[in-house]
């Protein structure tokens, strides 16, 4: 579990980065861009969590 958590640090950081990107987009480009970027962040977090779980556990 510790290994999993330590490996998840990077995906979580990337997730926050992508979320702030989506908030930035909300100001500039509108809802569509906002939602799509947020979805990208969620997908990347989810997929990498599952993959790391499979690899480590």
């Amino acid at each position: 579990m510790l290994k999993f958590c330590s490996l998840m640090v990077i995906p979580v950081l990337v997730f926050f980065y992508t979320m702030s990107f989506s908030r930035w987009l909300a100001k500039r480009a509108g809802t569509g861009a906002y939602v799509s970027a947020a979805m990208l962040g969620v997908i990347s977090l989810g997929v990498s969590a599952v993959t790391i779980w499979r690899l480590v556990m």
Binding site: Y17, T18, F21, W24, A29, S36, L40, I43, S48
Partner: protein
């Protein structure tokens, strides 16, 4: 670096040519030799020639359409005209998914190559993560950076590939290439068509077209890049098939490594495969950054993002996860062969061509109508 963050960064044609050559020639280090060898046996070297010729024709058609109807537009903008915004989003999503899958497949194959050949004790996930970090960084630099790096590394690649071909000279058995047509003419043709997707030049052209510095040089760029990369692939396949008997060639997953391993030119020049690590790692990094950049760029176009760069870390994670999803190398090779290589042509050739043809028809009809309208107006005014 900020200067290059512009979306409409322009790249000189010789750097673009270098990038395209590396992009295609990288397939020599992937599973492509294995599949065409399995398909055509002794005639495997013909397949790149035929695929190259096919790509060249398609490239010229696509270039003509782009030049005539869609100057400074890319495939997403063209499909916006044909299918509307939603359709264009779907098309872009499809392409970027293809690119992501391609990045993931290449990443996994190369990581496995690295682990099995030079770093047997290092964990796969670490090697892959380093790879993806580098790729992400390079893609973040944008198409300008990628193309400049390609231009710098291209001589290395050319020298290296030619060296591999020539340094195995003492193992050549030219009669391994006979019978000339291998498994038969029809299989060779079908195989060439099926595995033509490695020449992604057509799709890439439709994406990078607005970035070309000098659109007049595009045709030359395509012709040079396709012919040089075809020559490289053919030279490698010929050498490979002259060194190993045909039954064996379809079983190796990493043709170049096997070739490099047997180099033995006296006691000092032997077992040089480690030096070729430089060659294939550089080429792979550039190829993967192109596909990753393509994915990010298309997504940003599809969803109207004002910059593609902040999406790169997420895309790196996604393609890394996709690459690590499969349990074993064999599974990856299987999946790659079954889907990406076999059906890649639909995305790489068919779809862009269809979109461009539809788009040009739409434009031609509109132009006719406008002309008619003008004529009518003129007539009415005259009346």
């Amino acid at each position: 670096m900020t200067q290059s963050a512009r979306r409409n960064a322009k790249v000189p044609s010789n750097e673009m040519t270098a990038m395209l050559i590396i992009f295609v020639a990288t397939n020599a280090f992937l599973t492509y030799p294995r599949y065409i060898s399995r398909n055509a046996y002794e005639a495997a070297w013909m397949e790149p020639v035929l695929s190259g010729a096919l790509t060249l024709i398609l490239f010229l058609i696509v270039e003509f359409l782009l030049r005539k109807y869609f100057r400074n537009l890319d495939i997403v903008e063209v499909s916006k005209e044909v299918f509307g915004r939603f359709g264009a989003g779907c098309v872009a999503l499809l392409f970027s998914l293809y690119f992501l899958c391609s990045t993931a497949a290449v990443m996994r194959e190369f990581t496995e190559n690295v682990v099995s050949t030079v770093l047997p004790a290092t964990p796969l996930i670490f090697v892959g993560a380093v790879f993806m970090f580098a790729v992400g960084y390079i893609a973040y630099a944008g198409i300008e950076g990628i193309c400049r790096a390609s231009f710098i590394f291209l001589p290395l690649l050319l020298v290296g590939l030619v060296a591999v071909c020539l340094m195995t000279m003492n193992w050549w058995h030219p009669y391994f290439l006979l019978p000339l047509w291998g498994t038969g003419v029809d299989r060779v043709f079908v195989g060439s068509f099926q595995y033509a997707s490695i020449f992604a030049n057509v799709l890439l052209l439709t994406i990078i077209y607005p970035h070309v510095h000098d659109t007049r040089a595009t045709r030359r760029m395509g012709v040079v890049s396709i012919s040089v990369s075809t020559c490289l692939l053919v030279a490698l396949m010929l050498t490979y098939h002259m060194v190993f008997p045909p039954e064996e060639t379809g079983k190796t997953t990493f043709a170049l490594y096997r070739l490099a391993r047997i180099i033995h030119m006296g006691p000092f020049f032997q077992r040089l495969e480690s030096i070729f690590v430089f060659l294939w790692v550089t080429a792979a990094t550039i190829r993967m950054s192109v596909t990753l950049w393509g994915a990010a760029y298309l997504l940003s176009k599809a969803f109207n993002w004002s910059s593609y760069r902040p999406a790169i870390p997420s895309l790196v994670l996604i393609s890394f996860s996709m690459g690590m999803w499969a349990d074993s190398w064999v599974q990856v090779i299987d999946l790659d062969g079954k889907y990406l290589l076999r059906w890649g042509w639909t995305v790489v050739f068919a779809l862009p061509l269809v979109i461009l043809l539809l788009g040009s028809t739409v434009r031609a009809i509109r132009r006719d109508r406008a002309d008619e309208h003008d004529d009518n107006g003129g007539r009415m005014r005259r009346a």
